[in-house]
C-alpha cells in the first residue's frame, strides 16, 4: 500500500519524504485547492523544487486541483492543471467534471485521480469517471465501511485510495454547504471550511465559547481542552439534549484496521492534514511507514507506534469512522 502524505509547505514536503512517504500531495497557493488557507501551499517554483526532490528519490508528487471552477472564470483551474502537467506532476487530483474533461483532452498523458470531493461512493459513479475521463485512481469518500470498500474493489478496475489518519468529515465531501450557510465561505467554491476569519472565542462566566460566524459552536468549562469550531464538530442542542450531534472532535485513525484495508484491496493510504505543521506530518508519516511495513510483512503493528498515533490524534480521541458500520 502506497503511503500518501500531506504537505502544506515545502518544509512539510521534505519532512514527509524524510519520514518515508511514498508520495506527497499538495496544492497551489490559491482557491484551486480544498485547503486554501493563509500561509499555506505551493508556488509553481516550489512545486518544481518539490518534484525534483521527490523524483530524485523515486517518490511521487500529486497536485490537488479539487475545488469547483467558478462560472465565467474557469481559467485559473485550467492553468493549475496545465502547470502541474508541464512541471511533471505524477498525478492531478480533480473533482469537477468540466475540469476532468479538459484535463483528459488537453493532457492525455497526465494521470488523473478523482478527489474525495467528487464523493464517488459506488460502482456506477466510479465507472463513469473511469470511462469518461480515464481516471486511474479514486479517493473514496469517507462514508463507506471496509466491507463496502472490499466489495467495490472486486468490481472496479481503477485503484482506490482511502483516508487513514487525520481530520474527518462526517458528511459526504463535496456535497456540503454547511460552512457557506453559516459564513458565506464554501469548501467547493473557496476551498475553505469554517474559516479562521469567522472564528471568535469569548468568555461567558466560567466558560469559554467558540463561535463561527457569530453562532456558538462549542462551550468549554475550565479544565476542558478548547477545540477549533469546525461546524460539524460542535456541540448542539437537539431534542433538548446537548451533544456532538454530527461528530465528536475526533481524529480518524485506521491503524487498527490496516490489514483489513489491505485485504479489501486498497491501493493507497492517505494522511489528511495539509494545514498541519511539518513536525506533525513527520511524526504521523513515520508512524504509518512503520505500520504499513509491518502489515506488508504480515507482522503485528508495533504497539508503541499505535500509542504514538493515539497521542497525535486530535482531541486525544480517535475513531475508525465510517469504516465500521456502527459509526452510522
Amino acid at each position: 500500500m502506497e503511503l500518501v502524505a500531506p504537505a502544506g509547505t515545502p518544509a512539510s514536503l521534505r519532512a514527509a519524504l524524510a519520514a518515508g512517504a511514498d508520495t506527497v500531495y499538495l496544492g497551489f497557493r490559491d482557491e484551486t485547492n480544498a485547503r486554501n488557507f493563509p500561509g499555506l501551499n505551493f508556488s509553481p517554483a516550489e512545486l518544481e523544487e518539490g518534484l525534483r526532490l521527490a523524483h530524485r528519490e523515486g517518490r511521487k508528487v500529486y497536485v490537488a486541483v479539487n475545488t469547483f471552477p467558478r462560472a465565467g472564470d474557469e481559467a485559473p483551474w485550467r492553468r493549475a492543471v496545465d502547470k502541474a502537467a508541464s512541471l511533471g506532476a505524477d498525478a492531478v487530483i480533480l473533482s469537477d467534471v468540466g475540469l476532468l474533461d479538459y484535463a483528459s483532452r488537453r493532457h492525455p498523458e497526465l494521470r488523473l485521480h478523482l478527489s474525495v470531493q467528487a464523493a464517488a461512493s459506488h460502482l456506477d459513479a466510479i465507472r463513469f469517471y473511469a470511462e469518461a475521463f480515464g481516471v486511474r485512481r479514486v479517493v473514496l469518500p469517507r462514508v463507506l465501511t471496509v466491507e463496502e470498500i472490499a466489495a467495490l474493489n472486486r468490481q472496479v478496475k481503477v485503484e482506490t485510495e482511502v483516508f487513514a489518519f487525520g481530520g474527518m468529515c462526517p458528511m459526504a465531501e463535496g456535497r456540503c454547504s454547511l460552512s457557506s450557510y453559516v459564513t458565506g465561505h464554501s469548501p467547493n467554491i473557496n476551498g475553505v471550511c469554517s474559516p479562521a476569519s469567522h472564528v471568535r472565542y469569548e468568555t461567558r462566566g466560567d466558560a469559554l465559547v467558540s463561535l463561527l460566524g457569530g453562532s456558538v459552536i462549542n462551550r468549554f468549562l475550565p479544565g476542558e481542552a478548547a477545540g477549533y469550531p469546525t461546524l460539524c464538530k460542535g456541540r448542539f442542542l437537539a431534542s433538548g439534549e446537548a451533544g456532538y450531534l454530527f461528530e465528536e472532535p475526533v481524529s480518524l485513525n485506521a491503524a487498527q484496521i490496516l490489514s483489513q484495508l489491505k485485504k479489501a484491496g486498497v491501493a493507497a493510504l492517505k494522511i489528511e492534514g495539509r494545514q498541519r505543521g511539518r513536525a506533525y506530518v513527520a511524526e504521523v508519516v513515520a508512524a504509518y511507514r512503520r505500520l504499513i511495513d509491518a502489515v506488508l510483512s504480515d507482522g503485528q503493528a508495533p504497539r508503541e507506534t499505535v500509542a504514538q498515533l493515539d497521542r497525535l490524534a486530535e482531541g486525544q480521541s480517535e475513531t475508525t469512522g465510517a469504516y465500521g458500520r456502527k459509526w452510522r
Partner: protein
C-alpha cells in the same frame, strides 16, 4: 413565456397517507408545472411510499403536471446502487439524476440534472447537457453571479431553488437516529416524528440547522420572492419550491402571482410569512453571503 414553477421532492419522512394526500391536493389545486417525486434522502424509507406512487403519479399527470422521478442524493452501497438501476429502468419515467453514477443509465433519453450534482460552471454543464439532459436544477449554494453566467450560455433550461429548507449536507450517518442515541441500522424511523425536520439549536438556544435523517437542512426558509423576476430576466427559466408541511398550494400561488406580475414581491412576502410561521426567511447564497442571512443591503450581482 414566463418561468415555470416546480415542486421539489419531499425530503421528509411523512406518513405515507399524508404524503399521498399532499400530492393529490397539489395535483388539482396548485399552479405548479412540474413535480419531482421520490425518496432523495434515505433508501430505508423507499418501501413506505412505494405502494402509493402509482396513484400519485397518475393523479399528478391528470392534473397536467410534468412528473420527474428523483434519485437518491447519496448512493452508499451496492443495494442502493441496484435500487437506482431499477429506478432508471422505468422507461416511461423521466429521471432526475442526483449522482453521476446514474448518467450512463439514462444516457440517450431525456433526463434532468438534479441539484446534488456539482454543476458550478459552464464546462460541467455543457458536458452533462451533451449526454441528453433536458434541464438542470443548480446547486443551492451558487451565488447569483454564477447563476447568471451559467444562464447566459446554458444549452438547456435552468432551474434554481426559490423556497424551502435548503439541503446543505448528506451523510452515511443518521443524525436523527443519533439524536435519539440510536444507530442507522436500528433507527426506528424516528425521522418521521419531525415533519419539517428536527431543529438543531446552539448551546445558547439559537436555532441553527435542521436535521432530517441523513440530511442536514437550513434552519431558515429560502424565500426568493424578491428576486425571481430578476433571475428570470437573467435567463433562469424555472423555480423550485421545496415542500414543507405548510400550505404549499398557497405558497405556489404566491410565487405564481409574483412571476405573473399580479402581486408585488413585498406584499407576497408578507403573506408568505403567515404561511410559514416561526421560520425566518433567508436568501444569502444568492448574494454570495452566508446562506442563512437575509440580504437587502448587498447588491444582487447578476452580471
Amino acid at each position: 413565456m414566463t418561468a415555470a414553477l416546480s415542486l421539489g421532492p419531499v425530503f421528509f419522512h411523512w406518513p405515507p397517507q399524508c404524503w399521498r394526500d399532499f400530492y393529490f391536493r397539489l395535483a388539482e389545486e396548485a399552479p405548479i408545472d412540474a413535480v419531482y417525486l421520490g425518496e432523495v434522502v434515505c433508501a430505508k424509507r423507499i418501501p413506505f411510499t412505494a405502494p402509493e406512487i402509482e396513484a400519485v403519479l397518475s393523479r399528478l399527470k391528470r392534473g397536467g403536471k410534468r412528473v420527474f422521478l428523483s434519485s437518491l442524493a447519496l448512493i452508499g452501497n451496492e443495494r442502493e446502487a441496484a435500487l437506482m438501476r431499477d429506478l432508471c429502468a422505468e422507461v416511461e419515467a423521466t429521471i432526475e439524476a442526483n449522482d453521476v453514477g446514474l448518467l450512463d443509465l439514462v444516457a440517450g433519453r431525456p433526463h434532468v440534472l438534479g441539484p446534488f450534482l456539482n454543476i458550478y460552471n459552464e464546462s460541467t454543464l455543457s458536458y452533462f447537457a451533451a449526454k441528453g439532459a433536458v434541464g438542470a436544477c443548480l446547486p443551492a449554494e451558487l451565488p447569483g453571479r454564477s447563476l447568471a453566467r451559467l444562464a447566459a450560455t446554458a444549452p438547456i433550461p435552468l432551474e434554481v431553488h426559490a423556497f424551502g429548507r435548503l439541503p446543505l449536507a448528506i451523510s452515511a450517518r443518521c443524525f436523527h437516529a443519533r439524536a435519539q442515541r440510536l444507530h442507522k441500522d436500528g433507527c426506528q424511523f424516528v425521522c418521521g416524528r419531525d415533519q419539517n425536520g428536527l431543529v438543531v439549536n446552539t448551546l445558547e438556544g439559537e436555532p441553527f440547522l435542521a436535521v432530517n435523517g441523513l440530511q442536514t437542512l437550513s434552519y431558515t426558509c429560502l424565500n426568493l420572492l424578491g428576486e425571481v423576476k430578476r433571475l428570470e430576466a437573467a435567463g433562469i427559466s424555472g423555480f423550485r419550491l421545496l415542500p414543507l408541511a405548510v400550505d404549499m398550494v398557497a405558497v405556489a400561488r404566491l410565487f405564481r402571482e409574483v412571476l405573473d406580475g399580479v402581486s408585488g414581491a413585498e406584499e407576497a412576502s408578507s403573506r408568505l410569512e403567515d404561511l410559514v410561521p416561526g421560520i425566518p426567511f433567508a436568501n444569502g447564497f444568492l448574494y454570495g453571503a452566508a446562506g442563512r442571512s437575509r440580504q437587502s443591503a448587498l447588491p444582487l450581482e447578476l452580471e
